[in-house]
Amino acid sequence: MDENKDDIVSFFSEGEKTHQHVTANQDIAERKRAEELIIANKELVFQNEEKKKRASELIIANIELAFQNEEKEKRASELVIANIELAFQNEEKEKRASELIIADIELAFQSEEKEKRALELIIANKELIFQNREKEQRASELIVANKELAFQNEEKERRASELIIINQELVFQNQEKEKCAAELKIANKELAYQNEEKEKRASELIIANKELVFQNEEKEKRARELAFQNEEKEKRASELITANKELAFQNEEKEKRAAELMIANKELIFQNKEKEKRAAELIIANRELKKAENDIRKLNAEDIRKLNDELEQKVFERTAQLESANQELESFSYSVSHDLRSPLRAVSGFAILLGERYDGLFDNESKRLLNIIQENANKMGLLIDDLLAFSRLGRKEIHKSKIDMAALAENAFKELSTPIKFKAEVKIGDLHHVLADTTLMHQVWLNLLSNALKYSFKKKKPVIIISSEEKNGELIYSIADNGVGFDMRYAHKLFGVFQRLHDADDFEGTGVGLALVHRIITKQGGKIWAKAKVAKGATFYFSLPQKN
């Protein structure tokens, strides 16, 4: 600006010089030159104004620049901070980069491993694909088999539901029959009691009659004796009269005596008369007694006949009831044996057929399951057989004969040891003979011996001892083993049907054997009991009456 001012001043001074130089010669040129200067001046003024504008603009621009500079300084300081941060970040990144390098190396290793594994998997996949195809084929076969099985199952379910209904009916009928049987038992006991009472009464009456007859006979004898005495006395009286007369005649002194004797005679006569009276009374009494006795006889006979008739009628009725109950029981056993066996045979049979026909389709587990079905069906068959044997026993009549018990036990043992080889030592003592049913007692020995063998089987040296003794008119037989024994707390359950004191896994059995033995023994008037200790063996005792 200052520079511009100087320029303007210098211009003016130069113009004055020019003016002085040309005033004389060249007015016109000078005017022109003046005009040109004016214009130039105006232009200069304009230019100055422009320059002033421009200067103010520059000032503003300067202020702005200063502001911008400040801003830039601020920004520069910020950049410095940012740079420091960047430097820090760079360091971090370098660290991370080195870590990444390590990770890369590891990844590369893993990749190799994975490739290896992938190759293996490809091989395995091929194998699986092959197996899958096999399985699909197998599956389609199984589907066919399944459909068949499903159809059979439906059939069986239908049959099973029918059987369930039949079973329920059977159970209901059983309950009814049991009720009926129990009532009949009570009625029978009552009848038996009444019969006994009547028999007692009848035998008492017979004894009373016999006594009456005896008394009558005694009285008749007595009457006869009295009559005889009377006769004797009459004879004696006449003898005395004769004697008196003789005496009176022979001895006056004896008259006194004779008179006395007369008195005595009179007395005797009186006594005789009295006795005659009494004899007559006795005769009457005898007649009355006889009559009374006859009456009693008649009366008793009528009463007894009436009672007997009534009793017979009752017995007849009860017998008819019992017979019909027995028939019902028989038809029930028949149903049990027939109706339960058929479905069981079907279960066992078709399980075997399934195993045989589709042998290739079943694995070991399926075969095991089929086997379980079959085994249980067979077991149930045994149960039904045992139960029927048990119920048949209730109806069997007993035929008693003299039995050599040692021989019978020996027989039973031989029968048992034929199918199964027992290592047990069996000692059969010199047993008492007994009066009992041979078939039934054979069954008793069979069951008790097989139990003893069964429960001592696991011992190293099983020993079974059979002996007998006589006690209070009874014969007591015992069979002792050294087997597993049992807990005496459960002894009361020993002889119940289907009661077992051992696990089915440990020892086989249906739980009917001892119930059967119990029934046989009590039916023949005997008793059965047992003593045992766990792991120390068991002894079973049964008694039978020595005399029938």
Partner: protein
């Protein structure tokens, strides 16, 4: 059916038992022609050529009859009575094949002229053997009436 020789006539109402019996009889080709009828009434119709078997050649008799006792309509014992009381059929051997071993049945069956009485064992293996054996006996061992 008229001209085919009948080996065995099986009279059995229980379809399962019948199937098992037929299977056992066909084992080892013991019996080729088995006719199975489901009740006593049908059996009598078949043997006497009546009812739905009217016109059948009744001289074509089975070699042996296997007879179940407990059947609907006409029981096995009734069938047995009819068979043994008729000249046409009384010479056909009858084997009673039943689940029941109750004494009255056994007695009645023999009294009515059954040739054999067999209690079907519950266990299938035994059942198969028993039935197969009886097929062998009556069809191969036994000399029939000519």
């Amino acid at each position: 059916m008229d001209n085919i020789e009948v080996d065995i006539l099986l009279i059995e109402d229980n379809a399962n038992d019948a199937e098992l019996a037929i299977m056992a009889l066909q084992k080892n080709n013991v019996a080729k022609h088995i006719i199975h009828l489901k009740n006593g009434a049908a059996a009598l119709d078949f043997l006497f050529g009546q009812g739905s078997y009217k016109g059948r050649n009744i001289n074509n008799k089975p070699k042996v009859i296997l007879l179940d006792l407990k059947m609907p309509k006409v029981s096995g014992l009734e069938v047995l009575e009819k068979l043994t009381s008729n000249e046409l059929t009384q010479k056909i051997p009858v084997v009673v094949l039943t689940s029941s071993k109750e004494h009255p049945d056994v007695e009645k069956a023999y009294a009515l002229g059954a040739n054999s009485y067999i209690v079907k064992p519950v266990d299938f293996e035994s059942f198969r053997k028993v039935v197969n054996d009886l097929g062998i006996y009556w069809l191969l061992v036994n000399q029939p009436l000519l």
